[in-house]
Symmetry: C2
Subunit: 429 residues, 2 copies
């Protein structure tokens, strides 16, 4: 073993960073044995220097993150501040001053991954970020390395624990969205401002990262179609149950059937109870990966939390440290395929549509005509009527999002259609 320690700076010492620091201390001997050199915590950048941080030498604490990454003697910088700035500038400055970087920052990677990878490559350094997607679950490394000899066609995942907790609660108790959200907040599963989670921003960032790696193509956050789950109702769950389904907020990255383009999207969807993702409970995450040769793989585990996320950060830290010692770097960005990212309109899937209609003869024929005119083929229709009001539940065969959108627009114009109560995609069949 080499005796000169590898110097690691920690940017951020919050939920994740404090766990990284703790494990670096308590597991120092194991880390040294696995890396082949001891690891030294060389500095910890925070915002509030006076906060008590258990187990961390106060002399290491600094509020000057920039000066820390410019020291020039660092081997690895671990960025667990989050957000775009100052994280972005700190990471590029770290590369410029000779360090490799491990980050858990999905927002930044989804927005500026290409530029950060370019900076890493320019300086011959590593940029690893397993923790940015689905916390502790090994996903980036398996996609990038284990499946490097395969062709990934689809990634279908539950990548946000907060929303899965809420949807699971609604499913199991019949609660409405607000009630389930309140419980998630009370139990610490949802933040005070849950927007990033419930509106799907967090999942969309992860979808962009996953799609990029899976398809060897740059996929940016803007390329990801995003719908939140705040409008999912108890009635939607009842409909799902009738179909033998449940509802999950899914991140879906797909290669088009002709292989010539890809799509990435986040939205709530019905999935059959028999699908392994249907039984992912509480705040757990799980990701399905479908590939040509390997078939269907699933990766399951805690998608967030300080110590699971720290486990992923430390796995990367060991890999980056080994690369340093070997004088090499790991696989960088792989975007050679450069496939076009198609808009949502071209996504093909099935739909479950609930319509409130007038309870009179001929309505079904009218509705069916509209579907036919837009080239959307109907799989099943269920009519329920009472007191002059009726509902019509239509489940379609596979159709493009554009065709479905045109259908719904035309349906809304029918006199006999009082309203479109819900539209939900059906996935995972």
């Amino acid at each position: 073993m080499r005796t000169r320690p590898l110097k690691v700076a920690l940017l951020g010492c919050g939920v994740v960073g404090s766990e990284v620091a703790r494990i670096m201390t308590t597991h120092a001997d194991d880390l040294a044995a696995r890396i082949g050199a001891p690891v030294e915590l060389a500095g910890v950048a925070v915002r509030r220097p006076d906060k008590v941080r258990e187990g961390i030498d106060p002399a290491l604490i600094t509020t000057d993150a920039t000066a820390l990454v410019k020291r020039g003697d660092l081997d690895v910088v671990v960025e667990v501040i989050g957000g775009i700035e100052p994280a972005r500038t700190l990471i590029t400055t770290a590369f410029e001053h000779g360090a490799s970087v491990v980050s858990a920052n999905k927002a930044l990677l989804a927005q500026d991954g290409a530029a950060l990878h370019a900076a890493a490559e320019e300086h011959g350094k590593d940029l690893y970020y397993e923790a940015a997607v689905a916390g502790a679950i090994p996903l980036i490394r398996p996609l990038r390395e284990s499946l490097a000899g395969d062709k990934v066609n689809r990634v279908l995942g539950i990548v946000n624990g907060t929303t899965n907790f809420i949807l699971d609660k609604m499913d199991s108790t019949g609660a409405g969205y607000q009630e389930a959200l309140d419980e998630a907040t009370a139990l610490g599963y949802a933040e005070a401002d849950p927007t990033a989670d419930v509106e799907g921003f967090d999942a969309a960032a992860k979808a962009a990262i996953l799609a990029g790696i899976a398809f060897h193509t740059r996929v940016r956050l803007d390329d990801v179609h995003r719908e939140g789950m705040t409008e999912v109702t108890a009635a939607d769950f009842a409909s799902a149950k009738e179909m033998g389904c449940t509802i999950k907020l899914l991140a879906i990255c797909e290669r088009a059937e002709d292989g010539a383009s890809v799509t990435a999207r986040v939205h709530p969807a019905m999935i059959p109870l028999s699908h392994p993702l249907a039984s992912v409970r509480g705040a757990y995450n799980a990701v399905f990966v479908e590939s040509d040769a390997s078939g269907r793989l699933m990766f399951y585990g805690p998608g967030a939390g300080g110590s699971p996320t720290a486990s992923a950060v430390l796995g990367d830290l060991v890999a980056v440290a080994r690369n340093r010692i070997n004088g090499t770097t790991g696989p960088g960005e792989s975007a050679y395929a450069a496939l076009p990212v198609s808009p949502m309109g071209e996504v093909v899937t099935r739909y479950h549509i609930s319509l409130d209609v007038a309870d009179k003869p001929g309505v079904l024929a009218q509705v069916a005509t509209v579907f036919a005119e837009h080239g959307v083929s109907i799989d099943t229709v269920r009519q329920q009527g009472k007191d002059g009001e009726a509902s019509l539940v239509v489940v379609t065969h596979r159709a493009s999002d554009a065709a479905l959108g045109g259908t719904v627009e035309a349906l809304r114009k029918l006199d006999t259609v009082r309203g479109v109560a819900s539209i939900m995609r059906v996935e995972g069949e």
Copy 2:
């Protein structure tokens, strides 16, 4: 991209090898882009040279595997012959002549992993074998790399598809073992001689490999306690159902509670239906990994088959090829922890025991006394009697295998105990 191709020799071109060759041809451009250099199939060693092998240039075929690995210009040797010899000698010869090795050979790795790793290290070459455990499922790489900063405490897995198919069939149809085996054979899920699968040899080899990597300790095949699943009966499934369980053949690698030793074992066990492993159907595999920081992770997918296994082989091939180009090697054997491997007697778990007893007063008291004398605490007892015969089903609290063994031996000596109908461990709670 570098233009001089990497030369790959394929040893074996059967179920797995033929798929490796096929994907190397059909995905040549993708592999080249991902590796950074084209890959050339330089030779294919087989036993029967005259067999038609679609898509493979007959000029590449040879029966002289030894001459092939001695060529001296090979970058990577892919060993998919299987068995101990000639695979072992061919692999070491490959190292001696400058090649790195990718293998799918669990039997060989479990028996001689340490020597092969030493040979790889001596010659500064890579030895990768993701395909040796659970086919396409990325498991070795996540354990070795993603969890390199964590402390794994338990690996609990369904790692043999044949036996999972049989047990799943017994569970869902009420069939007996032989009937389910016959169906597995007819459908091609079981080999003509199913011994390696049903007696747990295959799973034991995988358990040895997994335990070694998870605990950074050498674990050999001989260290793995092994019980097959040929004696699991329809009655056992009925008992399992009454407990809210099903029965799976599990490979279990555990760190002792005091952290000072490890165990590895393969045997059928009851697991609660609520455990994610309980819903692993058909020939699928799944492995649970429990670690200090990351908590519970699960990896699921096809555990065998030509193309899934080839996917794993090719992922390794890409990694090894990249290492070659970078003039480095990946992480080698990590056995620094060198923990003692404890015998089965020290394994602590719960047990479900069915006894045939005389239907007369005092039997339960007698039986309970025997358990107490051996320090095995009883959780529940259920008595069923008819016609002077009765059965007693005892579920214990956690106890060592040695204590349970002593208990059963003493029970057999009781006049009132006619026989021990079954003993099954209860895991995953």
